[in-house]
């Protein structure tokens, strides 16, 4: 029975949330096609092997670990060569990657090395005989495509947060393997990784995103947005393009067509009118709350719940109420 491959992303010696989502998706694919093995690949600096067993919790049967002092940081060529080598050797039906910053770099390289196509940034999928049907939002999120991918292995990269990592514990066999090329042979070298906000949750991983637009009126008023995020305790702060273009927030906070595309459980839009470019980045959030003084703002058409009124009056009260709720939990 054909096995299913999953690339489990790590950073700084820890598996990322997308690693569990990727393995869980591979488990789902394997179960849908008769229950073959899920075989994961983890690459990193020495010590990463200690994390490998965690993947069993999400349905991995086997984890191949590549540990090398030269892999403390991402090495596109070593990662691609190694993933391609494993995929080639294993006769896999399908292979899953995360459509994260790293996965979007890695997955197309692996596909090209194998001479196969890649369904990228997939939010849902289904295996139907010889084909994989994959859902992919395109055209600034204004059109939902169902793609048909044929050939083996069928490679997919999964939009972070789109598929829930369901726990399904299995005892995972862990084996250490060598990289397909030695890191010092790589032409492309990541020489430095600087953390921008190590303590804060990333937009792609936070269950709650509190996001501000021009309605905040000035950079210093984002303090109110940060206070609300802090009250939630599990929230990241995002912004519209207008706000990042004006330098009120770093460009990396931008949510929208040309920024980050996010799918949190809860998205709170503060002083955001709801331009299509912004909606493209957040319309797949499970629940959307909008607070805006303009009752005709387009954001209210996508929001599940809206409050019309003055942000500066409403926001402190909302922060207080959320604090109360959190204190009682």
């Amino acid at each position: 029975m054909a096995a299913t491959f999953a690339f489990a992303e790590s950073r700084d010696g820890n598996l990322r949330k997308v690693a569990f989502e990727t393995v869980a998706a591979a488990r789902q694919a394997a179960d849908a096609t008769g229950g073959g093995e899920v075989q994961a690949l983890v690459m990193g600096a020495p010590g990463i092997a200690a994390r490998a067993e965690e993947l069993g919790k999400y349905g991995a049967d086997a984890v191949a670990v590549v540990e090398d002092a030269g892999l403390e940081r991402y090495s596109p060529e070593v990662f691609a060569a190694t993933a391609a080598e494993r995929l080639r050797a294993g006769e896999y039906r399908a292979g899953f990657f995360a459509a994260s910053a790293q996965g979007r770099d890695l997955a197309p390289r692996v596909a090209a090395r194998l001479g196969v196509s890649l369904a990228s940034d997939v939010t849902d999928f289904e295996i139907q005989g010889d084909a994989v049907l994959a859902r992919h939002p395109a055209y600034a999120g204004k059109v939902i495509l169902t793609l048909r991918l044929v050939g083996t292995p069928a490679l997919l990269s999964l939009r972070p947060g789109a598929l829930v990592a369901v726990e399904q514990t299995r005892p995972a066999r862990v084996e250490t393997v060598a990289p397909a090329m030695t890191p010092d042979k790589a032409r492309v070298v990541v020489t430095e990784v600087s953390q921008r906000s190590a303590a804060k949750l990333d937009l792609g991983e936070a269950p709650v995103i509190v996001s501000g637009g021009r309605g905040l009126r000035a950079a210093e008023n984002f303090k109110l947005v940060e206070d609300l995020a802090a009250a939630f305790g599990n929230a990241a702060v995002g912004a519209t393009r207008a706000v990042t273009d004006d330098g009120w927030r770093p460009a990396t906070d931008q949510i929208g067509q040309t920024g980050r595309v996010v799918s949190p459980s809860l998205y709170v839009a503060l002083g955001i009118s709801g331009a299509v470019q912004h909606l493209a980045g957040m319309r797949t959030a499970k629940t959307i709350v909008a607070i805006n003084r303009d009752k005709d703002a387009p954001i209210f058409k996508v929001a599940d719940y809206g409050i019309v009124g003055d942000l500066f009056e409403i926001l402190p009260r909302l922060t207080e109420e959320i604090k109360k709720v959190r204190a009682s939990q």
Binding site: V143, K301, A303
Partner: protein, 250 residues
């Protein structure tokens, strides 16, 4: 420096889209086209590098039907020296097919840099750049937000979730460009006149087998939104109650 910029013609994203009767393509009525956003940045990066060095050229490559020549002329008006139109009746969704067609044209053509946008704004997949690099066996860095080039080597920055990577690579190389790296210039009237006389070579696109196709295309389900809980801060307790008991997200 000899630089190739691979452009895609995409519909203007501000338009209201509707789905054609075949349920797998856009209704062409009323569609207007433009250079994909990120590709515009790639073109600007290429032009600046050639200007800085004072020699070399920017060559534009574009896969698609005859209609893409209008897009190509725009790029020539903005400042590219010449263009290659890789002609295909349809642009397949399969990024690997596009990469094969581009790689066939770029192979052994002596480019120092091959630039792409980080992704096309229509298909939003971001696969063609790195796949082309692999087919050409060239070093590749994706989604660059900053770059410097000196003595045949490049240093780039790319944004990760919550962090920034600094990446070094030798030339020749393939780079995909994120937005915001350099504000794209507009075509001047002189540029528009000159573009009409710039060389535009037409060749068949060698796409090969297509393995990834659009099965269906649909508009996203309308969110059942539009529910105003209330006005002003007095609505806050009700909002929080709904988030707890109805949406169950707290």
């Amino acid at each position: 420096m000899k630089i190739a910029v691979c452009l895609k013609r995409v519909p203007e994203m501000e338009l209201r889209f509707s789905i054609a009767a075949d349920r797998k393509s856009l209704d062409q009525g009323g569609l207007k086209y433009e250079i994909s956003d990120f590709d515009g940045y790639a073109l600007e990066v290429g032009l600046r590098l050639v200007e800085k060095e004072g020699s070399g050229e920017v060559v534009v490559l574009c896969v698609g039907p005859d209609g893409v020549q209008e897009t190509i002329r725009k790029a020539l008006a903005i400042g590219a020296a010449r263009a290659v139109h890789l002609k295909a009746e349809d642009v397949p969704f399969d990024g690997f097919a596009i990469a094969r067609a581009l790689a066939a044209e770029l192979q052994d053509a002596g480019y120092d840099l091959i630039l792409f946008g980080r992704m096309a704004t229509d298909t939003a997949s971001g696969t063609v750049g790195p796949m082309t690099a692999e087919l050409l066996d060239l070093p590749c860095v994706t989604a660059l937000s900053h770059l410097e080039i000196a003595n045949g080597r490049g240093t780039a920055r790319r944004d990760l979730e919550g962090a920034t990577e600094t990446v070094e690579y030798p030339l020749p190389a393939v780079l995909t460009i994120d937005e915001g790296i350099a504000r794209p210039r507009l075509a001047s009237l002189k540029g528009i006149m000159a573009a009409k006389k710039k060389p535009l070579e037409v060749k068949p696109a060698q796409l090969g087998q297509v393995s990834l196709t659009v099965e269906t295309m649909a508009l996203p389900p309308e969110r059942a939104g539009g529910r105003i809980v209330g006005e002003g801060s007095d609505a806050v307790p009700e909002l929080v109650r709904l988030l707890r008991t109805e949406a169950k997200v707290l």
